[in-house]
Amino acid sequence: MSSTIRIKAVASGGTTQVQSLIRHPMDSGFLKDKKGKLIPAHHIEVLQFKHGGKTVFTAFWGPAVSKDPYVKFKFKGGKKGDELKVSWVDNKGASDSLMAKIQ
């Protein structure tokens, strides 16, 4: 089972830059399928990053975030080998999480 989460976290000069890509349809709720039926909204609601037990970034997303969402942020601290925990939950209750190592 491959994770829906891809992450690249690089520590440099006391700051860690995190880039993450998540596999998710992020259906807007405004698109119709081939039969003309509205595809219900299906999107990630909360995405959270934790470093050493501390939440370093929280995203609240609506259906206007693009399919297979991408996000980038930076936080102070973090060094090579540290663990970064990523987790998300969507509006249908599905979720995924990943423990990544800072490079």
Partner: protein, 164 residues
């Protein structure tokens, strides 16, 4: 006499529930022995803010206040987006003590696209990709020192990204 005849039973049930929850968590997160790993919580999602149709209503729902324009916010978005389904937008700010960043697309069916919490130690910087239904003003809102500031930019969309 036992005044709480149900108590041991309840306790046992709770223990059982805990064991089940722990077992499930164990399945999901293979390497975690305890469900102590606090994951993203959907309860935190500001559902009300994501339903609003205007900038003022979104800010009221999210932060309970209004924003003033600031030149200390940089909103990086394309002048023309050929594909409204994927519009790269980045927000950075030199304002002090930034605690939140929100991005609004005013002509989308629901105005709020994304809201971010910036804890202490995290930079006032976020980059993401949003959908735009049509040409619209994009507004970046930054909470700094408990006050709200905003910057806006018009993005022309040639092919909308919210539906057919």
């Amino acid at each position: 006499m036992n005044e709480f005849p149900d108590a041991p039973d309840t306790a046992r049930r709770m223990i059982l529930k805990g064991a089940v929850a722990g077992g499930l968590a164990g399945l999901g997160f293979g390497s975690f022995p305890f469900p102590a790993y606090a994951a993203a919580d959907a309860k935190e999602w500001p559902a009300d803010a994501f339903k609003q149709k205007s900038e003022a209503d979104v800010l009221k729902a999210l932060y309970g206040k209004t924003a003033e324009a600031s030149d200390k916010i940089s909103l990086d978005a394309p002048e023309i987006a050929e594909n409204g389904a994927v519009v790269p937008i980045a927000v950075t700010s030199t304002l002090p003590k930034v605690t939140a960043i929100a991005i609004l697309v005013l002509n989308n069916p629901n105005v709020l696209a994304a809201a971010y919490k910036i804890p202490e130690g995290t930079e006032a910087l976020v980059s993401n990709r949003l959908k735009m239904a049509k040409t619209s003003k994009v507004v970046a809102v930054v909470e700094s020192n408990g006050k709200l500031y905003s910057a806006a930019k018009e993005v022309k969309v040639t092919v909308g990204g919210c539906g057919g």
